[in-house]
Structure formats: structure tokens, C-alpha cells
Symmetry: C2
Subunit: 255 residues, 2 copies
């Protein structure tokens, strides 16, 4: 059976996350049901990142095995047709080798978190960014983030329900940028790692926001990490500022 | 009575435009009702641009006279509180002289139109940009737009219901930029003029889109303008890609 890789965008709001669960809407179910419209049996689809409820994606990657061979552009068009009107879109599609696995072949995941600091409510980007009312200090957040780069035990920064066998992960990048918006500023956190723990990105951003607000000193991020204790973490940021933006494989399936 | 100027953002979708109309939701009514919560009588508010149904704003400017003097930041906060949960936000507020008039003192209005060309549906920016499925040629659109710069009779590019006394207007700028988006490109049209006719921006963008698609030659834009005939215009673009981004006054009230 030919295997296809898909690059997928979705709005997190209407879904209880990527992963299929009985009685809850999921992105996985939406795509599997669209695939079932064009395939004799409903295929299973495996994704690089099992994003949480409310988390967005612009570069999720997944694969599925289909009964017959498709011209990739036609397959993408057919799926987008059957996905309507859900906020899920296939933006690239390619036939891949049978040893390609969207989850297990992935070498790197990239996430971006959008955080806007301003007093007035957001009207166009409601649901697309996390808004706080207090100003934030970029340099302090960058100083706090520096403590998290590299290989560490991230017990303090993972959900108590996290199922990963080990809390040790390597974070390769946390870049924070600032750009002005009317009446405030938008901060974008770009994180890159081979893989992340459950709630790791949102725990890191929620903690760094406290640093930016002046409630935490930057050095307290290092203390929280060293504590290896979930209660040492800052508040977990809400999901609607988080985007899975890309996944890297040894060979880019969409190149 | 002290006079206040307001810079206003709104999402166009829930409103039948800026201007108050019986039995239709309008941005003007929303703000006047918020003002009535903090002022003994409901004040009238006058805006620089009477945007159409569905059109967005990031820099609308308006003014109103209030019964008592306010600290501008507190006035902004009070109005944003009473505007909730409507997608309308006051992003700046200032006391101005009694001879300031948001509409009649305005020297320049600026609009931006967002147009995305790609096959896959948009999931995060649905309702915030106009999407077309065909690719667009930036250079051809720029060549077509050049014919519209300067002082012309824009009869071909205004709504048949337009109430302006004269169809002669001066367009000072039409800049078109292109940036890549996943699976396509976003084009932003920046237009600047002392004032615009009813539907003028949307008529221009809709016509230039036809040029970008290759359906019109760039020189046909000049022919359409010279025809001084509404039927010579291309299709009017939908409202949800259009933003009133700013208004210029002899003295910036928010400086």
C-alpha cells in the first residue's frame, strides 16, 4: 500500500487535541473521516506531535497508507474538499517510502508561542494569541530562557500526567522576539527540540511570562529547573497561543 | 464640554458597518451605548471613515463630547470594559480642542487590503483576508495600479449608491507587497488618499486581482478608468480583507 505524508494546518479551538478519543472531536478523527471518503477502509493516520486541546498547528506532519496510488496534488485537493467546513487544511502531500513514520522518523519539532502584552482587548487575533495586560521585559525573559537550553531533567516543566519514560530532554533553541503592536507589544517564543514533554512548551512560556512581568527573577528559572518538582514551575500558559510550526525529517518529504 | 478623540479597532463581521442604522448592529451604536454607561446622556460619535458592512479597522478615529473631564487612560479602560464582549477596542484616547473633528479635520485616510492566493483553505485567517485559489502576478498588479495614482475621475471605481458630490479624487499611494505563506502568497495593498469614494478601495483591489490572475492586461485598468462607467470596473472584492489602518490630522491627537 502506498504511504503518503501530509503537512497539516488547524485551528485548535474546536478540537480536543490531535489524538482520537471516544466522544470528543479531534483533528485525527476529522482527517481519518475525510480519508474514509476516498479510500475503501478508514485509514489510521499517525502524527509527529500529539498536540493538546486548543493548540494550533501550521506545520503538523502525519502519514497514512492508502489502498491505491494518488497524484499528491489531487489527494490534497480531495481531502481539503472533504474536510470542509472544519478549520483543518492539508497544505502539502507527498508519497513517501514505507519506512517513513511521521512520529518515529522525526528529528526535530518546532513550536511558536504568540504572546501579546497590551491593555486593550484584541479584536482580530482573539483565540490566536495569549494576551496579558502587563508589560513584559524581553531581556529578562531571554535571560531566564537561557537557563533551559541544552539537556536537562525537565520534571518541573512537564504535566503530572506526562507519559514519557524519561523527563530528560534537550532543548536546542528558545528564541524570543518582540515587535510593536498598537498599544503594546507581541512576543514570539520559538522553541526547537528533538521532542518535547507533555505541556513542556506551555510550562516554559508561562514561567517566562512571570519573569517578563518582573514577578520572578531570571535566575529563578534555573532554580525551578533544578528543583525537579512540578510545583516549582510557574503557571502553565493557555493553549491558544501555541502553534506546532514544523517537523524535520532526515529527508524532507515535501522538498 | 470636553472633546475626546479615540483610536478604534474592530472586527467587521458582526456589524453592518460603522454607521448607525435602525435595526442593524453598527460599530457606532456599540461605542455610543458604551459611552452612555459613563455619561449622563448618550453622546454622538463622529468617525473619520464610515466603513462598510464587514470591513475591519485597526486605526479608525472618532470623537465625542462628554459631560465631564476624564483622565484619557481611565476613559479608554472604562469604554473597553463596557464594550465587552463585542470585538471593538479603544486603543488610544486623548482630549482634543473643540475645533477637532474626526471626519472634517482628517487630511489622509489609509487602508490595507489583505489578499491570499493559495489552493488550501485558510484556517487561522478565515474572515481576516480575502482568499483566491489562483496564483497572482505581483508585477502585473503593480503596473495596473500605477494607472490609478494621482487625480482622476473615479466614476468607474465607485458604488452606484455613492453619495459623494464629485467622483474626482486623488490617490497618493497604492503599494502592493508580496510575502510567502505556506502553499501560496499573501499580497497586501496599501492605499492612501485624502478621502475615498464608496467602495473605491474594494473596486480597485477587485480589478487588480483580475490583472494579477492574467484575466485583464494591466493597460485595461487605464481603459476602465477612462471609461467613467461603473460597468467598466472589475468585480468588487469582498469586505473581509479590508482594514482602515489609520487617519492623519494636522496635529496627531495621540502623539
Amino acid at each position: 500500500m502506498p504511504r503518503y505524508a501530509f503537512r497539516i494546518e488547524y485551528h485548535g479551538a474546536p478540537f480536543n487535541g490531535w489524538q482520537r478519543q471516544i466522544g470528543q472531536p479531534s483533528v485525527q478523527q476529522a482527517i481519518e473521516e475525510a480519508l474514509a471518503k476516498i479510500n475503501p477502509e478508514e485509514p489510521r493516520i499517525a502524527a509527529a506531535g500529539r498536540t493538546d486541546s486548543g493548540v494550533h498547528a501550521t506545520g503538523q506532519t502525519a502519514h497514512a497508507d492508502l489502498a491505491r496510488r494518488w497524484q499528491p496534488f489531487r489527494l490534497m485537493e480531495a481531502l481539503n474538499h472533504h474536510l470542509r467546513p472544519l478549520p483543518v487544511a492539508i497544505t502539502a502531500c507527498a508519497e513517501v517510502d514505507e519506512d517513513f513514520h511521521a512520529r518515529f522518523s522525526a528529528r526535530e519539532r518546532r513550536y511558536t508561542f504568540r504572546l501579546v502584552a497590551r491593555r486593550a482587548p484584541l479584536v482580530h487575533e482573539a483565540g490566536l494569541v495569549w494576551q496579558v495586560r502587563n508589560p513584559l521585559d524581553l531581556a529578562a525573559m531571554q535571560e531566564g530562557a537561557a537557563h533551559l537550553i541544552g539537556r536537562h531533567d525537565f520534571t518541573s516543566f512537564r504535566a503530572s500526567l506526562c507519559q514519557a519514560k524519561s523527563p530528560v530532554k534537550s532543548i536546542d533553541e528558545i528564541t524570543i522576539t518582540e515587535q510593536p503592536v498598537t498599544g503594546g507589544a507581541e512576543f514570539r517564543f520559538h522553541l526547537r527540540a528533538r521532542s518535547f514533554l507533555h505541556n513542556q512548551v506551555r510550562s516554559i512560556v508561562g514561567t517566562l511570562e512571570r519573569v517578563g512581568a518582573g514577578a520572578w527573577a531570571p535566575a529563578q528559572v534555573a532554580e525551578a529547573l533544578a528543583a525537579r518538582d512540578r510545583s516549582a514551575c510557574g503557571p502553565v500558559s493557555p493553549p491558544h497561543g501555541l502553534y506546532l510550526t514544523g517537523v524535520t525529517y532526515p529527508d524532507d518529504p515535501f522538498a
